[in-house]
């Protein structure tokens, strides 16, 4: 069982996201450790990209803030190396295919293994194009997290069959960002996935309140929160630590209800 899948053994998983380099490399390290301490089971680290087409305004802005500070892929590998000195929490990169392609697949995934990255999410790499990286990811023990969307329908089977780590179920149409309500029939989709694979299913896009966290935890194996966390960092900048700890532990606790 991969380290990521293991993270789901401890009740429902809480997965938190932040953008590397926002507001700084040092603060990103501090915030990852803070989220780990507050109970996050997996942490997604965004490698910023100039044109994040799957993101809503909150994470778009975080990408641009981080890039304008000059952070790059090598800095982020260094940062992960530092995190690993103090934490064994499963870490997953979230980025777009071009920065990975540009870095070189072999070099990128080798580096992932060297610094201790356990998985990767690439929103613009659907099932049909997974062949770009699957071999490299496999060779270096990096789980490629598959996404399933409300529109996936008869693609669910095909995607679920090949899934590793966990399945990222996109809760609603559109891009990332806080939503008041989630209308998709997640229960049905999760049921279908479960009939095909034992790989855990975590739901993301739009989740931000403890109440949503609780509700989703009743039907899924985990919840993913991005924009709400990034918003805290946007608001409190270098002083976000305690706010993040408070928020993450509240959200994690809600999964246990």
């Amino acid at each position: 069982m991969s380290k990521i899948t293991e993270a789901f053994n401890n009740g429902k998983a809480f997965i938190g996201f932040l953008t590397a380099g926002d507001p700084s490399k040092e603060k990103t390290i501090e915030y990852i450790l803070a989220m780990d301490n507050a109970g996050a089971d997996i942490i997604e680290i965004g490698i910023p990209f100039s044109d994040p087409v799957a993101e809503g305004p909150v994470i778009q802005d975080a990408n641009l803030r981080a890039l304008s500070k000059g952070i790059n892929t090598d800095d982020i590998f260094d940062l992960v190396e530092d995190v690993r000195k103090e934490s064994s929490v499963p870490l997953v990169f979230l980025t777009y295919i071009n920065p990975v392609f540009y870095y070189g697949y072999e070099k990128f995934f080798k580096k992932c293994k060297d610094v201790g990255i356990n998985g990767i999410i690439i929103p613009d790499l659907p099932y049909e194009e997974k062949g770009e990286i699957s071999e490299f990811a496999k060779n270096y023990d990096v789980d490629v997290i598959s996404l399933i969307a409300p529109t996936s329908k008869d693609r669910i089977r095909m995607i679920a069959k090949d899934a590793t780590g966990f399945i990222y179920l996109v809760s609603s149409m559109g891009v990332t960002g806080v939503r008041n309500e989630i209308k998709t029939d997640l229960k049905e989709i999760i049921g279908e996935i479960k009939s095909i694979t034992d790989v855990p299913v975590a739901v993301g896009f739009g989740i931000n309140t403890p109440e949503q966290s609780m509700k989703i935890s009743k039907i899924a194996d985990g919840v993913i929160v991005g924009s709400a966390i990034v918003k805290i960092i946007e608001k409190y900048g270098g002083n976000s630590k305690e706010y993040l700890e408070e928020y993450v532990s509240k959200m994690k606790d809600a999964t246990k209800i």
Partner: protein
């Protein structure tokens, strides 16, 4: 001298032909699923096979209505092209028979359907180690056959049995597996049983022209056709032709690949829509009524065919090749954009969409989309970067006048690239009733194909019109390239001809500065906006801000088919600077009385260079992709600014200059 020229021509043609073949081969290599046609039994079958040339054929030596004797097989085999591999199909055969058939060169490959074991396989390999062996596995599912209470258990057991059998043979010395519903029953089995097969496999059982596309999606090594290739019990040339055509079409368009470029790098939310769109497009592109309606719109509404105009003054002045201009600027809405937009919006309407969205840079594509939406009564929203909204206020008003809602995009560099991002985001929010009208031969498959097909009317007309006048092909075709839709439209029907194809990229303030949009000349391979192609990129694969005086060419990438034409050297791509484009803009106005778009002026600038180098017998066709009204003001300001540098004209003009020149630097900062 004469002789030398002839030799040179022959060499030139040979080189061109080689280039052409490379293109073709590259397309096919990408997804080379082999074809086997099984069950030949008549001498005339050999003729049919040679005509369609599958990779394998099969003779059935087991009990079956398709059974043939060794002698019959030998007679047919002798008529077959020698590069088609022959498979012998057996059920628990005598090993001596196999040895006999191999020794006499009647078969090359053994296909085993019975209870043969690993020892049997070893014996064959011992006899001739070069002989390949295919082991057939019956994927028969019990679902339909067991109605009782135990059916669930039985189904589970059956699945486990099949898995174990597959595992057993995966770990054996056979070269391939063949998955079939039974022993050639001609029925389709439950394809979901195919999971992570570790040996290359033939897929058999009821495959026909209807399900072949889905079959190839399972990534088999080969497709095995038998009853699906027959009519009245015998192999049918017509049926085989349909299947081979479908397969070739898929090979050429493997997820929209042009060599290694193209693809579908797009969020999962949109994948189902793209697949459906491709199916719908493939249906309508062959639909008589659709084509008739589109042709009527193109002719009666857009004003096609556009003129092919002999530019006599320029021809005389440049003193080289004869120059023709393809007047896309005379189309309704003033550019080639209408060709694609009418096609896409009509398609969207046919498939039941009620709303279209589009990105726009200068506003040409936005205006064209708004126009088609007004005509065909569709809701329309256009996404346009804040910078462009400011630069092209008049076009914003035109779109609004046509009933479209114009959304100003404030993200990123606030230009065309960001307009595409925002339109894509909008599409992921609302896809069920909305079609995204991509404006160029870019984005994820099938857009580069759809837009190219709709724009290929340009080269089709050039070919016909020029043949009428000159009875020959042009020596060269020149077009400007941003995403590359007017260029691919102008090139497409000449790809297999001996015609030079030249695309002109935006060289901005020079390709050695940071201020250009020359993706091929200065960019690197990358993956963005759904496609693998060339992009202007910064460190670590961040998409670079780009610059051009022409908003229509101000895009950091280029369509994937152009990337492939560049790599295979079938087309040439060359940068043209702002200065050169402005000079060409004025030159064309002075010489021919035509004010063209600043985008198209890039092609004219190349024409000025190329025409001089050519002989009087040569012919150059330039695609004049758009008209220049939209650019007159900014070029006037640019010119005044230029002169003010030395003559110190009024202060107000200086502000105009700095605003104009800062368009690009804004993007970089």
């Amino acid at each position: 001298m004469m002789k030398e020229n002839n030799i040179r021509n022959i060499i030139k043609n040979t080189i061109r032909n080689n280039i052409r073949h490379t293109i073709k081969d590259d397309n096919i290599k990408d997804d080379n699923i082999k074809i086997k046609i099984c069950g030949l039994r008549r001498l005339e079958d050999a003729e049919i096979i040679n005509k369609h040339h599958p990779d394998y054929v099969g003779f059935v030596f087991a009990e079956s209505k398709r059974k043939v004797s060794f002698d019959e097989a030998k007679a047919i085999k002798n008529l077959l092209n020698t590069d088609i591999s022959v498979v012998g199909v057996f059920v628990d055969p005598k090993i001596e028979d196999i040895f006999y058939l191999i020794k006499n060169g009647i078969i090359d490959i053994i296909q085993l359907h019975g209870n043969e074991n690993e020892e049997f396989v070893a014996k064959i390999k011992e006899f001739d180690n070069n002989v390949k062996i295919i082991k057939s596995i019956e994927m028969r599912d019990s679902r339909n056959k067991n109605g009782g209470n135990n059916s669930v258990n039985k189904e589970e057991n059956n699945k486990i049995d099949i898995k174990n059998t597959i595992k057993r043979w995966e770990n054996s010395d056979v070269d391939y597996l063949l998955l079939d519903s039974g022993k050639g029953s001609g029925e389709v089995f439950d394809w979901s049983l195919i999971e992570n097969i570790k040996k290359p496999f033939f897929l058999a059982g009821g495959i026909n022209s209807e399900n072949i596309k889905k079959a190839t999606g399972l990534k088999p090594y080969a497709i095995d056709l038998s009853s699906g290739a027959e009519e009245n019990g015998f192999k049918s040339s017509k049926k085989i032709a349909i299947i081979m055509d479908k397969l070739n079409e898929m090979k050429n368009m493997n997820n929209g690949r042009y060599g290694k470029y193209g693809g579908q790098y797009i969020p999962e939310i949109l994948m189902s829509e793209l697949i459906t769109l491709e199916e719908q497009y493939n249906f309508y592109k062959n639909d008589f009524n659709f084509n008739e309606e589109l042709q009527r719109l193109l002719n009666e509404y857009a004003g096609r065919p556009s003129l092919l105009y002999f530019a006599e003054n320029m021809t005389k002045d440049l003193g080289g090749a004869k120059i023709y201009l393809k007047r896309e600027d005379l189309n309704h809405t003033g550019s080639h954009k209408i060709n694609n937009v009418l096609g896409q919006v009509l398609l969207a309407k046919k498939v039941g969409k009620t709303r279209v969205i589009a990105e726009t840079g200068a506003g040409q594509h936005g205006v064209a989309t708004a126009t088609a939406a007004a005509l065909l009564d569709m809701e329309c929203e256009i996404f346009m970067g804040e910078e462009d909204v400011k630069r092209q206020a008049l076009n914003v008003y035109r779109m609004e006048l046509l009933g479209a809602k114009v959304n100003t995009v404030y993200s990123g560099t606030r230009t065309l690239k960001d307009a595409v991002n925002e339109a894509m985001r909008e599409w992921t929010k609302r896809v069920s009733d909305t079609h995204f009208v991509f404006g160029s031969v870019m984005g994820p498959h099938p857009f580069p194909m759809i837009v190219r097909d709709f724009q290929s009317v340009i080269s089709r007309e050039i070919k016909e019109q020029l043949f009428e006048i000159e009875s020959k092909l042009p020596t060269a075709v020149i077009a400007c390239v941003g995403g590359g839709s007017n260029a691919i439209g102008s090139f497409y029907n000449f790809l297999n001809d001996d015609v030079r194809l030249i695309g002109c990229e935006a060289g901005g303030k020079g390709v050695d500065t940071e201020y250009h949009a020359a993706s091929i000349t200065k960019g690197e391979i990358g993956i963005f906006h759904g496609m693998k192609s060339y992009f202007c990129q910064g460190n670590y694969g961040q998409i670079a801000p780009v610059y051009s005086i022409s908003a229509g060419l101000d895009y950091p990438g280029i369509g994937p088919e152009h990337a492939h034409l560049h790599d295979t050297k079938r087309a040439e791509y060359t940068p043209i600077t702002d200065e050169e484009a402005i000079h060409a803009f004025e030159y064309l106005a002075e010489k021919e009385g035509i004010i063209c778009a600043i985008e198209s002026a890039h092609a004219i600038a190349q024409l000025i260079k190329t025409a001089k180098e050519m002989e009087k017998e040569d012919i150059i066709v330039v695609c004049l992709s758009g008209r220049g009204d939209k650019d007159v003001e900014s070029i006037k300001n640019y010119k005044i600014a230029k002169t003010s540098k030395t003559s110190k004209i009024a202060k107000t003009v200086k502000i105009a200059k700095s605003e104009e020149l800062n368009e690009g630097s804004d993007l970089i900062e």
